[in-house]
């Protein structure tokens, strides 16, 4: 038992690793603050494009969304970071992460928002258009607010995944939380920093998970 505690929960090692874990925590935090809005912007654009009834839009959109949802995000990131320079585009580590998440996360947010838009009854758009609102104004003021509300639990769920997924930034040597924890692990030959990182993730995400279940319960209740 003592060996187990020493190997996974050594307070001594955690306190030594604490400063670099904290640095990693901040990197994870600002990476999330960067990639979540990027994903939401990309997702909103994709969802709005999905309402255009032209095959010249629909087919490329379909290919785009399917491709970026199917390709593993880690592969995508490596490809952007290591592959784009061959095409003459130098990208920084942060730039590669931003682009990778814009493409991958945007495709997921886009599908969620598209489902949200489709859940709004058609009469809403007709009523808005009948009063002279343009298509875009109707989207902005009438359709999107309802769409977002209808899929809020899915959006939050996806956001949780995105925060955890920022750990793949370690492959381009961005010192986010998990990267720092593994550095500390390899120096100390001890798993405690990893466990500490897990606890930090938990403390960061647990309130969001709670909020999510409350929202889901409320939506279930509203449907009854």
């Amino acid at each position: 038992m003592q060996d187990f505690l020493n190997a996974f929960f050594s307070l001594d090692i955690i306190s030594q690793a604490w400063p670099i874990l904290l640095q990693g925590f901040w990197v994870t935090l600002w990476l999330s603050a960067l990639v979540i809005p990027l994903g939401l912007i990309s997702g909103t654009v994709l969802a709005l494009l999905s309402t255009v009834r032209s095959r010249w839009v629909a087919w490329p959109l379909w290919a785009w969304v399917d491709f970026f949802r199917a390709i593993p995000p880690l592969v995508l990131l490596v490809f952007i970071y290591a592959g784009l320079p061959f095409a003459g585009f130098e990208v920084s580590a942060v730039g590669a992460v931003a682009l990778g998440f814009f493409l991958n996360t945007g495709a997921y947010y886009g599908e969620i928002l598209r489902a949200g838009i489709e859940s709004v009854p058609r009469g809403q758009l007709e009523a808005a258009r009948s009063t002279g609102l343009t298509r875009w104004q109707a989207m902005q003021h009438v359709i999107l607010p309802q769409a977002v509300r209808n899929v809020l639990p899915d959006l939050i769920s996806n956001t949780l995944e995105v925060v955890k997924l920022t750990s793949i930034a370690s492959v381009v040597a961005l010192p986010e939380l998990l990267f720092q924890a593994r550095q500390a692990q390899s120096v100390t030959y001890n798993a405690s920093p990893i466990m500490a990182a897990a606890i930090i993730y938990f403390i960061l995400l647990w309130p969001v998970v709670r909020l999510l279940s409350r929202l889901e319960n409320r939506q279930l209740a509203a449907r009854r």
Partner: protein
């Protein structure tokens, strides 16, 4: 008839292989209340929805208040402000209060400032007798109240013509009266109205003209007394007989 404010002529509408409007004409004079009746599938709602181009006609011409609705050069969003529409399912925006519902187009389409938009919206709600429900959300209102908010939302833009697409069909019987009362007052204020509905008693009392449609065509039209009391066509007779037995 004076120069019509609504002149739809030779309207055709195809949905794929289905030919739902076959060369329909509908002329409406200013201040006239026209009732369009007919069995379901007769194309009456489609005709109404063509008038403000919620439905794109496959052929024909539609002039409303001097504006060629089908011309490419027509700003459809501008033209639609002159044509209010009320829907069977109300279609209020559930995330906005009654006041918010009425104010949206005043603000975003007509560009009125907040104070003026709110004053106009409150006046429109007062006209449908809902001044005291302005801060309620649609979910907190009865169906009849929701439909009256929908009427307020349309008349706040000061349209020249109002279109009603089965405005009372989704309502419990005891809530129909309030909506018809709001329509009656609108009529008395001189609004031009085209109403698709099965409210025969209201049609008899208030309509200037009844248009009977079947199979995508206008079969017969005239004053309510003659269409209801002395229908000329077999289809009309059968339909009126059916409706009156209910």
């Amino acid at each position: 008839m004076a120069a019509p404010i609504v002149a739809a002529t030779g309207i055709h509408k195809h949905f794929g292989a289905l030919h739902v409007l076959k060369n329909v004409d509908l002329l409406v004079a200013e201040r006239e209340l026209v009732f369009v009746i007919g069995p379901s599938g007769s194309g009456k709602s489609t005709l109404l929805r063509c008038l403000n181009r919620l439905e794109e006609p496959s052929g024909g011409s539609i002039i409303v208040d001097g504006i060629d609705m089908l011309a490419r050069s027509t700003d459809i969003n501008k033209a639609r402000q002159r044509i209010g529409m009320v829907f069977q399912q109300f279609n209020l925006y559930p995330h906005m209060t009654a006041l918010g519902n009425v104010m949206l187009a005043l603000r975003k389409v007509q560009g009125k400032d907040k104070t003026e938009a709110e004053a106009r919206a409150r006046a429109a709600l007062a006209r449908v007798d809902l001044a005291d429900r302005a801060e309620h959300f649609p979910g907190q209102l009865s169906g009849g109240q929701q439909q009256r908010v929908a009427i307020a939302r349309a008349i706040a833009l000061e349209p020249r013509v109002m279109l009603f697409d089965e405005p009372t069909s989704a309502l419990d019987p005891e809530l129909v009266g309030g909506v018809l009362q709001a329509m009656r007052e609108l009529r008395e204020s001189g609004m031009t109205m085209v109403v698709v509905s099965h409210e025969m008693a209201f049609a008899r009392a208030a309509a200037d003209r009844v248009v009977f449609m079947a199979d995508g065509q206008v079969v017969e039209q005239g004053p309510p007394a003659s269409v209801f009391g002395n229908p000329q066509h077999e289809r009309t007779r059968a339909f009126i007989g059916q409706i009156e037995r209910h």
